[in-house]
Symmetry: C2
Subunit: 111 residues, 2 copies
Amino acid sequence: MFERTGRPLSPQEILELGQNQADGLSLPTVYRALKAMTEAGELTTVDLPGQAARYELGGLHHHHHFLCEDCGRLFDIPGCPGAVHALAPEGYQVARHDLTLIGSCPDCSTP
Amino acid sequence: MFERTGRPLSPQEILELGQNQADGLSLPTVYRALKAMTEAGELTTVDLPGQAARYELGGLHHHHHFLCEDCGRLFDIPGCPGAVHALAPEGYQVARHDLTLIGSCPDCSTP
DNA sequence: GCTTTATTGATAATGCACTTGCAATAGCAA
DNA sequence: TTGCTATTGCAAGTGCATTATCAATAAAGC
C-alpha cells in the first residue's frame, strides 16, 4: 500500500495497480487507506477540475503538474516560474498557486 | 441575461443575481442559458477543482484567475508568466496551461 | 380574442465521486 | 484450534452539480 510510481495517482489507478499485484483490492479499501494516509500526512491531494482527485507522496518539493489529455494521466514536473505571485493585482494576497500544463505526454505524442 | 460583472460567475451566483434583479429565475433556466451561450461561443467555461464551474465572456485575452478562499469568488487577473511552457520536460507537448492564484481578495483581506 | 409555439419553474432524475453499514474474512494471542 | 479484534469486500447510501420531464405561463401568429 505504497505509491512510488513517481506521479500522482487517482483512486481508480491505485485500485487497478493493487488488483494487478496479486491481492484483490476494492475501492472502499483504497479510499479508506487514502484517507488515513492523507490525515497522517503521508499523502497530499491533487485536485483536478471535473475529475477524481489524485494522490501523491507528501513532503515533496514545490512542483507542478502536467495533464495528458490523451491518456488522462497526471505527471509531476519540476520547477516553477518565479514571478507568479507578482501577477496578483494590488490588494490580493496570494497564499499559494496552482499551475497545470495540459497537452500530450511522450507516450501519447509519439505513437 | 448578460454577465458583465468582470469576473467569472458560477451558476449559483448567476441565479442569485438574476433573482435579485426583479425577475424570478430558476436554476434550470440558468443552465439552459449557459449551455446555449457557451455553444454559441459567447461564454467560456472555467473549471475549478471540487467546485461548480464558472462562466465568463468568451473572446477575452489570455489571462488567469484568482480564487479567494474566504468568499469563494473567482477573479480575473491579467498577464501571464511567459516561461511557463518551458517547464515541461523533454517530450511533453504543451497545448495550454492553467494558472490559479489562491489567497484572499481585497474585500476579505481587509475586514 | 383565441389558438399555437416557445420558454419557464418546480420537481424529480441522472451521473459521478466518495462514504458507510454490516457481514465475512484475516491476523493473531492464548 | 478457539476466540477476539481489526480489516476487507460488497452493496447500498450521500452529497452535489447538472439535466430531463412536464405542466403552466408567456409570447407570437392568426
